[in-house]
Amino acid sequence: MIAFIRPPERSSRSRRLRRVHRVLAETLLPPEPEPFEPGPPLVGWKAWLVVGWLSAAALLGVVHSIARWL
């Protein structure tokens, strides 16, 4: 059975009242959390130091695991 098409209901609030509601809500409700800011990019020698350290640790881990199971 095909439903009868109903015309859209009109809001009981007037446009001005809706605007007041929106302004009040923006004032009283806590703001939406801001999107994540990844912070200043880490570049140059600092980035390579971090990557070098992590890579060295990973390499040591591999060597340790191989030595352990050989």
């Binding site: 994540f36 880490l42 980035a47 971090v50 350290w53 199971w69």
Partner: protein, 584 residues
Amino acid sequence: MLSLLISLLTFVALAVTAFGFGRPLWRWIGSDDDALSAVLFSVGLGLTAVGLIVLGFAAFGVLTSAVLGVTTMLGCCWGLVEIAFWCIPNGEPADRSADESKRFSWASRPVDHWSPPSTWLLAVVLSAAIVAIAASLIDALTPPTAEDAGFVSLETAKRLLVERRLVGPPRLVDVWHGWALAFDGDGVCARLIHWGFGLLFTLASVVMAAPLVGRRWAWIVGGVVALTPAVNRQMGCATDCLAMAAMGALAMTAWWQAVLHGGDARWFVAAGLMTGAAMAVDAAVLALVGGLAVTWAWAFVGWSEQRRSLLLGAAVFGLAALGVALPAGVWRWWGEGLGTTTCGIRWFGLLECSAWVWCEHLGWIGLAALPCAFWVRRLRGLGVVLSVAVIYAVSVMTLTDDVRRLLLVVPLCGTAAVWTIVEMRRLPRRTQWIAAAAVGVMMACQWTDSVVRSFDGPAVALGLEDREAFLLRREPVYQAAAVANRVLRPTARLLSQDVRTFYFNCRVTCEKSLARPLAVDESASETARRLCDSGFTHVLLVDDQSNGARSPLGRVAQNALTLTDYRVRMADGASRHYRLVALR
């Protein structure tokens, strides 16, 4: 297969019992929170309550199977009722917004402010962790042998059950093992209890990290903890370190909530009870109390408006902790110091550990992430967490030489590691990929160390091999124990040269613990007569031929009736000669 099912069912029943005892306590404490933390704290409190109840039975000399059985059955039934109330909807429509507000009540600021981990990362880490936990479960399902570090605890637990009274002040972990042994005498359920502590520790790490890095990243912390090789290995044997770590992690979780996140004062009660339980397991937790006291002092100085509640909270915390720890362990520490592994004060104890020990116990990722804490942005609370980790690690390694006590630091380092991973997005794209690959390799190494192990017992763990056949193959003393259990009367008293006496049903005294050592120049007949006068009826002689060790006790074999005589080749190639003899 039947014994395997019995062990598993017993473990589940004991877990439900712990939940049954703990859930009303947690409700009484009244800290409203999400389901995971409610379950964890309920189980932790329930285990503490059961431990103290069993300890009370032992103190009054009524530790019988019937008493234990009735108590456990009551707790189990109530646990089932609690689970039913938990699961069955009460007919009212679920208020999702209320659930959300409960979840976020963990943090005093919106969590997941940074983008959460991708679903594939979460899936990979958690799948790897589940495989590692399953590998440790196979270990835990094998009957305990002398190679296990936790054999001593099982011996103490068995003595508690045989004597039906306190034989020296036991630790809370011995009581839990004894509780499991009462229903599953093979010791497998006791190992499963310890495996359960590992699970509790892992999930407690998730709850502890959630206010800092958000719930989804906290699951990555849980994965990192589960993949730490030492944690995973300890889950397979019945020792005390994971029980201490699990209770300590719950205590820290409640403490952060009370002190750092301005939680309700009732969190202090939870923190105190959990700290008391951890102290009753291992006195090394006093080092953790020192670290927590520093955070308390920091909050006390910094937040002048909350000083009154902090003072009140500290008093409540101290009373709750002592209320649990006093019945279980204070007199023990008074007499023995900080446990059997105390080795005096070693000012540089932490530095004496080799790098491999560090990697084994803290994990590659946690260790590699520590220096990176200097370049990541400040995360509120992380500095406090790392301060507690440093204070605890330095204190505990100064006072003891047992590196397993460092396990409590693993979730703290894991949280720092995960924050480092979050911050890796600040790196340029190319270096970001290299760093991610390095972290992935470290995680793979940890996974390999945890999972790929010399499995000797999958057949017995899966019920394909008989437990007795496994023990005859693996446990040197088991053959003598099997003979003694068949031949000896229950009233017999055995003097053993081997300290591993778990599988003997009769009362056993080790030669090392004799009040008066045997004289070297005594004749065989004089020694035998002295032993008979002391009440001993049988002797288990062990002749270690690798070092040619001879004891005055060995001479009694000349005039004694030999019940069994066999040689065993040990894993290190040495040969051992076992003789079970009856004194005449």
